[in-house]
Amino acid sequence: MKILVVEDEKGLAESITDYLSREGFVCEVANTFWQADEKISLYQYDCTIVDLTLPDGNGFDIIQTLKKIASATGIIIISARNTLEDKLKGLEIGSDDYMTKPFHLSELNARVKSLIRRRNFGGNNDMIWKDIRVNLPARKVFIKDIETTLSRKEYDLLLYFLSNIDVALTKESIAEHLWGDNMDSADSLDMVYSHIKNLRRKIVEKGGKDYIQSIYGIGYKFTAP
């Protein structure tokens, strides 16, 4: 899986590529509009992450070119602009997702994976890890082939974990993933805690191992014990 990261802030581009490389993606970086323009005309990417504000051009133009020459590529916009107009315009010209800076790398990772899954399999596949199997179209979860009923948020939480195996996730990023960023009260962290507790219980009940590992002060990690 090849991913192109178009971002003028070098540090941020580096963080994104480091993070996604750990997940097994092959990443390339373009720091300027012209680099990006050159790369998309030379190579094929499965996914492109585009910053809208570039020193020598506009990210929207890159997306339009991409749509013309390689329509199969998934496009995720990352931008500091959080106006509704920008978001609508981004989706209108053919991007698949819009993330507002600052975002969580784990969230970006989850979205890249979900985008690639949708592009490649039309979402029609199972997500399997150890003894957990998730049937995506039916939103069903099987632990050791026994179906387990999860609430909507528990399901979302499990998918988020499965997209970020072996990664330390902050409580805040989980809360934001589940409820968006307008739920910023301390209560949402309590809710994360209770959802984690329930999910953990449901997996263990069906004979699975306790994959959710707490990291003191930070959050949780989904990993094989």
Binding site: E9, S15, P102, L105
Partner: protein, 419 residues
Amino acid sequence: MKLLEKASRIYLLASLLIYLAVGIAFFWIIKFMIYDEVESRLMVEKQDFETYVRTNDTWSNNSYFVENKIEVLPVFGKYKAEVVFTDTLINNRYEESADPFRQLTFYTLIGGAPYRVAIRKSMIESYKLIEAISAAMIAFLGLLLVSTFLFHRVLSGKLWKPFYDSLARIKDFDWTKNKPLETVRSEITEFNELGDVMEKMASKMQHDYRSLREFTENASHEIQTPLALINARVEQFIQSKDLGENHTYWIEEIYHAARRMSRLNQGLLLLAKIENQQFTEQEELDLSELALNKLKDFEDILQHKEIRLDLQSSGSFRKLMSPALADILLTNLINNAIRHNYTGGELRLESGTDYVRVSNTGNPLKSDPERLFERFKKESTGAESLGLGLAIVKQICDNCELRISYQYDAPIHSIKITG
């Protein structure tokens, strides 16, 4: 009062006073001249009389005619030899009326004895003359007044037309749009100068508005990008296996501070954008329905805090406003009602045709309710609250011509938005 009306009134009042003064002065001048004429004729007659008396040394009151009536009366005792003009009324011989006369009284010696002589002249003709002249004067002055008044009105209306046209365009001018202001050109230099100045100001306003808007957007970008970098670096850092408890504490603090700063930045930028009226798109929205839908986003937390929902609707509150602002308004109101609620409390959403009210149970306010909607007014010192939520709500209400009021009826706090 309109300029034209004001000018007309002043003009009317001033010309009325001036014409009145002119009329009165004219009347007195004519009167003075007629008296002068009559008196000089009386003086001539007095000379004639004295010459007659001197040559004949006698006088007989035989003159029959009213005009030049001369009355000679003997005087007994002392008298003051003086010459006096007086106005007097004398009965008409034929009509039952008194006619005005001017009378010259003097003393003279006839045949060695003193006599008081009164020579009179009728003023009837003169008075008629004065009346006729006055009437003509009043008629002419009145006509002049009315005609100049009308002329003045029509002329001012014509002269000021470009001004009023330009005024209408200035009123319609919207600095958030790109269309420049164009005032009406006319022959009048002052209006053209005013137009030039207004156009210059308008284009400066548009320019400032644009640069401010660009600045807010750029500032947002410039600040959010390094914050995104901090966030990303922290996320990478926590992936390392050998973090001590101290390290995680520090990282947690850095992470928190960065997130807080980012939210603060976004909140302040939002306030600036609302203040600058950057949300120009308008739609007719049903705020009651939007609020109900918004509550669904908060289902989880309501359940978590065991907050009972109480929905009361007696009509839908329709309002023409920006959908983005309406969303922010309701999100912030509900968020506020949940944050300051306690576990097992209640959240009430009421709506009518012209209001939406969000009420919640909660502890009494520690600070002044008047300052509830100010920026950075926080009830709790918890780091999670930014103190911008209600300030944003207030700002949106101010911009969308909605009224907002707070009420506390223990233990229910309610915030009401009225259209």
